[in-house]
């Protein structure tokens, strides 16, 4: 029987993962609280099956992503173009004011699968782990990752 205390402790240590998943995939603030609770609920429900073969953080990432992406989410209010308008696209004369904000907006522009692959990569996950989380093959992940990185860098350079 899974211990509730053990689970809570693990969640406390890794709650940043849940916040991150919400910030990256939820389009409306009203959904934030619902999704946070839902991820906790689904993680607790699945916890008895957690066998420790992967790290808890990887497992929680997987549950979080699955929950958010299979949840009924409100659609984006802002169109991608409007979103991009606020993106501080750099030019040789005008460098980025805030690179991290630009990266955030550029990542949010990607489709959800690409977004997942690049964010897992940036989070330090190996291609094999990304493949395990998404269900893609390792080679597939590598090819996609290369393409996504190129397109992100180009987008951020304002090309």
């Amino acid at each position: 029987m899974a211990s509730e205390r053990e689970f809570t402790e693990q969640i406390e240590q890794n709650r940043g993962i849940i916040f991150k998943v919400i910030r990256l995939y939820v389009n409306h603030e009203e959904d934030d609280q619902d999704l946070f609770q839902e991820i906790l609920f689904q993680a607790w429900k699945s916890y008895p099956r957690f066998d420790g073969r992967s790290k808890f953080s990887t497992w929680l990432y997987r549950v979080g992503l699955n929950t958010v992406l299979t949840f009924k989410r409100r659609p984006k209010m802002v169109t991608p173009h409007e979103d991009m308008a606020s993106l501080d696209v750099s030019t040789p004369e005008k460098p980025f004011k805030d690179e991290s904000e630009s990266l955030y907006l550029a990542i949010r522009e990607l489709n959800e699968l690409d977004r997942m692959i690049i964010t897992l990569h940036l989070d330090g996950y190996e291609n094999e782990e990304v493949a395990e989380i998404t269900g893609l093959t390792k080679n597939n992940v590598a090819v996609k990752l290369h393409r996504i990185k190129d397109s992100l860098i180009q987008k951020l350079k304002g090309e």
């Binding site: 991150k20 934030d32 009924k72 990266l103 690409d114």
Partner: protein
């Protein structure tokens, strides 16, 4: 731009910031699959309730033609009860959010589709039967339903009732299904297509 550095900064400044109002852990789920499971359980409860009503009517109704239809209704409802139970168990067993995303998406999509398809198929059988049984019971309160059914006007009225009621109830149900699950199914389909597109590209 160094992506990893920008990402670290983004994590600290934005992504890892707590979501507003995270106070307590809810005991129930708002996940669409959980709602489908709930809906299935409610359907089962209604089927049991109707089975009891039909059984009671079977005892108090005296006209054989009405009794025959009630028996048919009981059998059909019983059949759908077990079918619904099977689908419910299947959904409950396969609904897991700790597997990889690709299989989770397919599992959620397939389960939603099969549950909705079952409701649709059941309605196609149940609506005409229910309409006929109701019609006969209405007739039997005034006159002998078996004798009344020998008149062509009564038969035509019944046929028209069934022809009008069945498709209208069916399309109303489909419309409600689209309102409740249409956008959700599109959302899942789009995600599955992203995977499929990727598979095609890599071949």
């Amino acid at each position: 731009m160094d992506l990893k550095e920008a990402w670290k900064k983004l994590e600290q400044e934005k992504l890892n910031q707590p979501v507003a109002g995270t106070v307590e852990v809810r005991k129930n789920s708002k996940h669409p699959m959980q709602k489908l499971i709930q809906l299935s359980k409610i359907t089962l409860a209604f089927v049991i309730f109707f089975e009891l009503c039909f059984s009671f009517l079977l005892v108090i109704m005296v006209q054989p033609i009405v009794k025959v239809f009630l028996v048919i209704m009981i059998i059909v409802y019983l059949f759908f009860f077990f079918l619904n139970l099977k689908i419910l168990r299947n959904i409950q067993e396969s609904f897991r959010l700790d597997l990889n995303l690709k299989s989770t998406l397919k599992q959620v999509y397939d389960n939603t589709m099969s549950s909705l398809a079952f409701q649709r198929k059941a309605s196609i059988v149940i609506y005409p039967l229910a309409a006929t049984a109701g019609f006969l019971m209405g007739l039997s309160t005034e006159k002998d339903a078996a004798i009344m059914m020998q008149k062509w006007q009564v038969v035509v009225t019944l046929v028209i009732t069934v022809i009008i009621l069945t498709p209208s109830c069916y399309y109303l149900a489909r419309w409600m299904e689209r309102v409740s699950y249409g956008k959700y199914l599109n959302q899942l389909r789009e995600l599955i297509q992203q995977f499929e597109k990727d598979e095609v590209e890599s071949v």
